[in-house]
Symmetry: C2
Subunit: 351 residues, 2 copies
């Protein structure tokens, strides 16, 4: 029990199986006698990795035929741009629920008329706005499913008459979703899926090719679709490690089981936050994230003492983001409930 | 001596020290008790990795003060776009020496008037054009230092009155260069520097901020300069592994020693190609690459037999690119001369 309890918001905890397979591949990848860092992305062994990653994603999300799965570089921040480049012809609607939404809105404005349908900014993004209208003539509606910094999560996606685009960077693979509710989903891998350096995009290809602009080659989803994410050299190792996590999800009951475990972990911790007089949660209860629980000490002067107690209990990555303060416990798929219990134990014995 | 001789064009052979350190970091990164795949990029341990990577690059290239070093995502293919976004105001001059130059030219045309000063396309890019004029009013002159596919290399960079931008993806770190001859250098890591998934950019910052357009956030070099390549989550593991190679270069005599060894390896192999009646080189002798030697069997019907003989000698990645045919031996920094001797031995005993 010497293991560190890794509550980091991202890059974050990954399944032990992902790490173990990655170590093996670094030493001898798929019987090639070479490290995975040294093999051509055109080698049959890596082509198989990419194929398996695409197929595992299709299986996990039960993707309908018209959806394509891509593994790209550049993070969600590049997707803020690519989404607008590829889909924004005249007008788009965005829901503003935190720093990442705000950045996505900023980029989209370079390409057309952007309507912010609602924002929780005035309350430091501590809730998810629910009453808003999406323009029926918008090219798409964009939202962020989970707000790592502010500890909020969309538990019921709005019904949208226009295609819904969703940044799922911090809760992808954490719960069941209906893929066909979405026109495009993107997610940086480094929170719940794999190492930093690869971004998953799931796109209904019927939405592409409708804008009236020339899209630079690397910004065009069709470039990457036509070459199976191998137009240029993909981030080989990050794709390999992501595949290990995708297969781990499948082997451990898929999204249904992930959701169940994630709910249990979050429920335990939120109960402690609510019952412990020293602490309070920062997000509105009904919008609390099952991935990132944000909370503060009512007496802030105890912050350093609490961080020290956490450190002594081998709890890492618990310090809150500067824009919220206090603490943040990120409990991604790979975290076992015993780590949450370890944190609760510190909270209960703290004074 | 059971090791595979890895002649892959990229991703390609890396120093054993890079692989060994990477394995260790995957198991326990810098005493954190966590895998490098699971640690925050804001952790002091990773911030130190990024700092060291920047400083090692500055030391290797003896960079003057005004140069910034960035580690980005998206490969050279994204740099084709970023270079033009950031530097092309009205007109740029490009030298066309192969597939990658051609792609760079295509992207630049989206942003302004692009003059192709010379091209070796009519000879299937088997030489480097030398007599050409760069417009004095061009915003920059762009060239590709080494053409992996065609086995050519610029041995004497042209003198340019406008800033020179160079794609050094396949020969970065392989030889001495005068950094201040260049306004901007970029290189995907996966040939001579590290794993796929990270791209090094060295830029004279005085060239930035001169164009009359709004640059999207992620496409703007100044975004990444202002945040020390951490505007968004960097490709943590790829940067770590690249740092290992950069420090290996420093520990092994720097660029001077790399150049010497690379010349020796290439010289050995080209002598065999020229002296062996069965083979001939495809690139014009004076422009031959010291990184990638391209050659063919005069009797093409023997191709499969030669590949089989290579495989039996544990020589991997020797098949030529489809646009040239025949064979290609990539001999990056980490390749020891004994691997070249192994290939020469197969060539000498082949019939």
């Amino acid at each position: 029990m010497n293991k560190v309890h890794n509550f980091s918001a991202g890059p974050a905890i990954l399944p032990e199986a992902t790490i173990a397979s990655s170590v093996k591949a670094l030493q001898n990848f798929s019987g090639t006698g070479l490290s995975i860092l040294e093999v051509s992305h055109r080698s049959p062994q890596f082509v198989e990795v990419m194929d398996r990653a695409v197929h595992a994603t299709k299986e996990i999300f039960s993707l309908p035929e018209q959806y394509e799965v891509l593994f790209l570089q550049g993070g969600a921040s590049t997707q803020f741009l690519m989404v607008a480049y590829n889909l924004l012809n005249k007008k788009a609607s965005y829901l503003d629920t935190g720093s990442w939404s705000t950045k996505a809105i900023k980029e989209a404005k370079l390409f057309g008329d952007v309507q912010t349908v609602a924002s929780s900014k005035s309350k430091n993004f501590n809730f998810i706005p629910k009453d808003f209208d999406v323009a029926e003539d918008a090219d798409y509606f964009h939202c962020t499913s989970n707000n790592t910094i502010f500890g909020t999560q969309i538990h019921h996606f709005p019904s949208s008459t226009v295609p819904m685009v969703c940044d799922m960077s911090s809760d992808i693979l954490s719960r069941e979703i209906r893929a066909d509710d979405f026109g495009l989903i993107y997610a940086g891998a480094q929170k719940n899926m794999g190492p930093a350096g690869v971004t998953m995009v799931i796109v209904d290809k019927s939405l592409l090719g409708r804008v009236n602009r020339t899209i630079p080659t690397m910004m065009d989803y069709n470039t990457h679709i036509s070459k199976g994410s191998m137009f240029n050299t993909p981030p080989v190792f990050s794709v390999f490690a992501t595949l290990q996590t995708l297969e781990w999800v499948l082997q451990n009951g898929g999204l249904k089981e992930m959701e169940k475990k994630n709910f249990q972990k979050a429920d335990c911790l939120y109960k402690e936050i609510d019952n412990n007089d020293l602490f309070e949660g920062t997000a509105k209860k009904q919008d609390r994230s099952n991935m990132n629980a944000t909370f503060v000490l009512k007496d802030e002067s105890l912050n350093d003492k609490f961080l020290k107690a956490c450190k002594e209990a081998k709890i890492s990555g618990i310090k809150g983001h500067r824009s919220v303060g206090g603490f943040r416990a990120s409990m991604y798929n790979a975290m076992e409930i015993n780590s949450v219990h370890a944190l609760i134990n510190v909270m209960q014995t703290f004074n």
